[in-house]
Every structure is written in structure tokens, then in C-alpha cells.
């Protein structure tokens, strides 16, 4: 009999679900996030209540089975919040526990391969954001950028931007997931912004410094100048910068 486990989408919730699987000796399991259940008739349903103590026990066990690098990769894959991939995460963890040896490099296994693909997708998105963030300088000297990444990569961006832009205040805001990071010259913190008073994104222009427009203009000019028309290759261009990213790229607006 298939048992459906419903969890809250957190990493601790995922680990608690693993605890339930072993505690109840479940075999066929379908893991779902709250809110995506499909009301199938003939299956057992179980709401997993996230429990830090249980999650920690699973985490401790997992550390015996996979390397800290492997754990980081698993965490990054989870963080991505890819729809319908809960069972890949659960399958990977169960496989890691059940195997007699470290399985991180067994790419012949479907769970290991899938996690590896997910990690690659997340890292690519992270790398894209490191490239495609376009800061705009506000009057209070803060540099502001809005992003809409495919996956939830904002937490993975902190280290890069903090070490690179150590001497300027900056905000990177994920407008799809409605939260951001703010760096105040010392530390970073998560923030949420109230855009209720900003009816159009264009209204934010009022907060720009005077030279912001000049540098955006110069950058657009530069971008056009470096193009070599006789080598035009639109397919390659769009493969490198898919259209969904264009609306936040100064040079493509």
C-alpha cells in the first residue's frame, strides 16, 4: 500500500519525513508538500509534523553516510523548491541510508543522478544570478537589484555578493518569492519590502541617484558597440540569455 506523507516543505520537515519512513517501516511512499495533495482515494495519508529533534537524529545519521559536500548538495537541491522532486530527495536519502557504502558518486543510480541534475540546475541558476543581477544606485547610496530566478537561489548568493561588494550597501530582491537580502556594510539580513505604495515598477526611478541614468545609458551604448553585426547569431544569444531574464537586464530593456 502506498503511503502519502505530507510535509511543510522545510529541510527539517524533509528529515522528519525520513524519520517517519523508518519509524513506521514504510516501504512505498509518496512525499508531497502541503497544498499539493491530490486526494487519491486508495492510499494512506499522513501529515508529518516537523520535529527538530527527530530531524537532527536523521541529520546525524546522514552525516555518517555521506560527506559534508554531499550534504551541502542535497541541501541546495532541496532549497531549489522544484515541484514534484520531493520523492527524488527522499529516494536519495533512503538510498544513502540503506546502502552499505557511500553512494554519492554512483551516477548509475537514478536518485543519485537526479540529485546531481538538480544540483546542476540550481548551480546554473545561481551562476546566472551572479551574472545577471543589475544594481541600480539609489539616493541613499544603496545599490538595488530585482531578480526572478527559476529556483530559490537567493540564500546561495549571499557569500558571492558579500565578498565582492564589501564597500557598498546593496539589496537583492526576489520579487517572485517576495523576499530579499540586504547588506549594510557589515552583515546581511533577510528582508521583505512593502511595494504597496509603488504602483508601477517605474516609480522606483524617482529614488535613483542622478548619475544612475547616465551609467545605464553608457552601458547600453557599450553593449551595442561591442556587437559585430556580421557575426550575428541570435540562437546562440538567446541560448545564453533566455528571454525570461531580459526584463531585469539593463542592456536588454
Amino acid at each position: 500500500m502506498m503511503t502519502t506523507l505530507i510535509y511543510d516543505g522545510t529541510f527539517e520537515g524533509l528529515l522528519t519525513s525520513v524519520f517517519e519512513v523508518y519509524d513506521r517501516k514504510l516501504n512505498l511512499v509518496n512525499l508531497q508538500k502541503t497544498g499539493q495533495d491530490n486526494n487519491a482515494l486508495f492510499e494512506d495519508k499522513l501529515q508529518v509534523i516537523t520535529d527538530d529533534e527527530r530531524a537532527n537524529r536523521v541529520l546525524k545519521g546522514l552525516k555518517q553516510k555521506i560527506s559534508s559536500m554531499g550534504l551541502q548538495r542535497l541541501y541546495a537541491a532541496h532549497l531549489a523548491e522544484m515541484d514534484g522532486e520531493e520523492n527524488s530527495l527522499l529516494g536519495y536519502i533512503r538510498y544513502a541510508f540503506d546502502a552499505g557504502q557511500n553512494i554519492e558518486e554512483n551516477y548509475g543510480n537514478k536518485f543519485v543522478m537526479r540529485i546531481s541534475e538538480m544540483v546542476r540546475m540550481v548551480r546554473r541558476e545561481k551562476h546566472r544570478m551572479e551574472a545577471f543581477v543589475r544594481f541600480q544606485k539609489l539616493k541613499d547610496e544603496t545599490f538595488y537589484a530585482a531578480i526572478e530566478p527559476d529556483f530559490n537561489v537567493l540564500p546561495l548568493l549571499i557569500r558571492h555578493f558579500k565578498s565582492r561588494y564589501a564597500d557598498q550597501k546593496w539589496i537583492i530582491y526576489d520579487i517572485r518569492r517576495k523576499y530579499g537580502i540586504y547588506y549594510n556594510l557589515h552583515d546581511t539580513q533577510y528582508i521583505s519590502l512593502d511595494f504597496a505604495n509603488v504602483s508601477k515598477p517605474g516609480d522606483i526611478v524617482a529614488a535613483f541617484t542622478e548619475d544612475e541614468e547616465i551609467y545605464q545609458h553608457l552601458w547600453k551604448n557599450y553593449f551595442t558597440s561591442v556587437n559585430i553585426p556580421s557575426r550575428k547569431n541570435t540562437r546562440l544569444h538567446v541560448r545564453h540569455i533566455p528571454k525570461r531574464y531580459w526584463k531585469h537586464l539593463t542592456e536588454k530593456i
Binding site: 543522478m113 544594481f135 561591442v226 559585430i228
Partner: protein, 418 residues
Amino acid sequence: MNVDRITEKLNILADAAKYDVSCASSGSKRKNENKGLGNASNGICHSYTEDGRCVSLLKILLTNHCIFDCAYCVSRKSNDIQRAAFTVQEVVDLTINFYRRNYIEGLFLSSGIFKDADYTMERLVRIAKKLRTEHKFNGYIHLKSIPGASDELMNEAGLYADRLSVNLEMPTEAGLKLLAPDKNQADMIKPMGYLKNAIIQRTEEKKLFKKAPIFAPAGQSTQVIIGATPENDSQILRSASYFYKNFNLKRVYYSGYVPVLADSRLPALNTSVPMVRENRLYQADWLMRFYGFKVNEIVNDSQPHLDLDIDPKLGWAIRNMQAFPVNINQADVQMILRVPGIGLLSAQKIVSARKFGKLNWEQLKKMGVALNRAKYFITCNSTEFERRDLTGNNIKQFILATSQSKYLKNTQVQLNLF
């Protein structure tokens, strides 16, 4: 700031610099330890032009005034074009402000040669120095070394820049003599030799004294223009291989000649840019640097040109059918890397995964192996494999028939009418 004037200069001097194809911003390890601005490590392509090339650095000339008259160059003395020159401060401001907005990884600064080599080089170095010392800028800086510049200036350049490069321009000395009679290859090779030794020496010092300054941590590179002179691929790749070996170059860039000037020594203005050839040269370059191929395995006297229809690895494989099939579950990694359709990452995955059990087609496919090419050259844990005794040419035809090349294929149909 006079916006119109700066815009005009930027347009002229970015346009003139764009034929330099070097774009790398990787290979350095400059950290932001002084709570300044920026760092340089793995390199990021911040944007891509409509021709699909990466935009990573603010790539400009300090000036396009030039005392030389090289036939292939838009900035040549006799060319009737608009001339401009940036001031040191203008370049610094543009770099810092672009960098702060995350447009770029840093600065790529080259220049036409005004007055003489040292005078020009001194200006380039001054800009890098100002960025590093006055603005605590730790982003990437790539400076062109001006052929004929003094060792003292080259040394100073190495202290501030991450990468230095001298363009060889033409793959052979004869090609250079034809198109750039004012230049000689010895002037270009001299600073390369100086830098090679300086980099080795500074790296040794760094091992002994932690506080020793870093010196051109991303090494040096060069560029050759292809298709402007009649060199064949064998000459080009041999020349590249020579410079990789003897000057520890990090990269050789191949720049397909874009006809911009009418000159009887050059391809006509309506000649198309040799983009496929350029791509095949880069693939061959990768085979030399990462896949353990020797240059004469890729091109040689009987095979002086790369095949434009297929990649050079496939080309090598069909000329060397006796080396195949390779058993994926047993062969050593060097041999697996030589299989068409298997890249560095899949080769690594195969070698890791086969410790857990023999791999089959499905698993190889999942790992990212391009089976449409690889299937003719490997066996795995399956009773299915290519049993026909195909010639290399058969395989080439099969692959071309089933693949969608990124370029228009040359017509492959060979009619056997008679």
C-alpha cells in the same frame, strides 16, 4: 561629466576593441581582503552580445590613434576613421561605476600605439595602478602588453594586472610580414618571454614569502587572426602548441577575420567570417589542453585542415578505428576521454559510477553522454552494440545524417552515378 562626449568616446573605443576576442575573466585569485571593491576568481559572463559572444569585461582601447599601419586592423594609421582618446580618470570612472552595478568582471584595456611603445604602456599601467591603489579595486584587470615595451614597465604591469597578453596577430612570421610590415614577431615574443620568467620567479617567491606580491595571477594569453592570411590549420595549431609549451600561455584565442578594410592583401570585403573554422580550431585547442591530444594527432601533413563538417575528436576517431570499440566499464579515463560524444564531466562520472556496477546505455545517456556519436565507438553492459564493420567514413555519414549541426552542413551527398 560631458555625457555626450563620453558616450561618443565609449562608442568609438569599444567598437575598435571588439575584434580582440579574449574575454576570459577567470584564473585569477585576487581576494577582497582590504574591504575594498571586488574580487577576481572564476570569471563570470555578465551578458552576451547579439552575435553570441560573452561580455565579461569592459573592453576598450585607451585610444585608437596609432602610428602603425597594419592591414588587418581598423585602427591602422591610413584608415580614415574617427579618432578618440580617453583620459586616465575617464577609464577609472567607467570601470568603477560599471563594476559597482554588476555589469562587468573588470577591465580589459588595450590601445593603439601613440608616440612609442613605452609611452603607451606607461599610460595603461597608470590606469591599473590607480584602480588598485586609489580605489582599492580588486576586480579583474587584463592589460595588453605593447610590443617593444621595456621590462621595467612589464614588471609594473604584472604587479597590477591579473592577466597580460601580447597578440601575435598572425599565426606565422611570414603572415605578419605580409600584413604588418612595421611589426616584427621578435618584438612580441620578447615581452612574452620576460613575463613567462617573471611569473615563474614570482610564484616561487610567493611560496617562500606569503606576503610577496601576486604577479599576473591569471597568466598570459595571446590572439591570432585566422583567415586573413593563407596559413592552414596545421600551421595555426602547431604555432599555438609551441606557445603553450614554451611560454606557459593560459590561452590562445583564434579570431576569425572580419573583413573591415579593402586591401589587395586581404580577403575581399564581402567574404564571410570563418566562424565554423574558428569553432573547429577552438575545439582542437580544447583537445590539446584538456583531452591529452598531441597536435599531430589532430592535424598533420596529410591532414593539414580540420574537417569543417565534424568536430576534431570525431575526426581523429574515424581515422583511428583500430583504437575502438572502447569498453566503458574497463578502459582507463584517458581512453574514455577520446571517445566522441563523451566530455570531461561525463568521463569523470563514468569512472566514478562504474565502481558501483557495470554501466548500460540508459545510464550513460542519463550521465550526459551524446550516444548518437558515442554508440559507434563503445561497448557497455548490454548485448546491444554496433556489430557492423563500419568504416570511418560510414560512421561520419550516419552521424551527419542524424545530427542537426549548429551550422549549415556542407552538402554530404556523394552521388555514385557511374
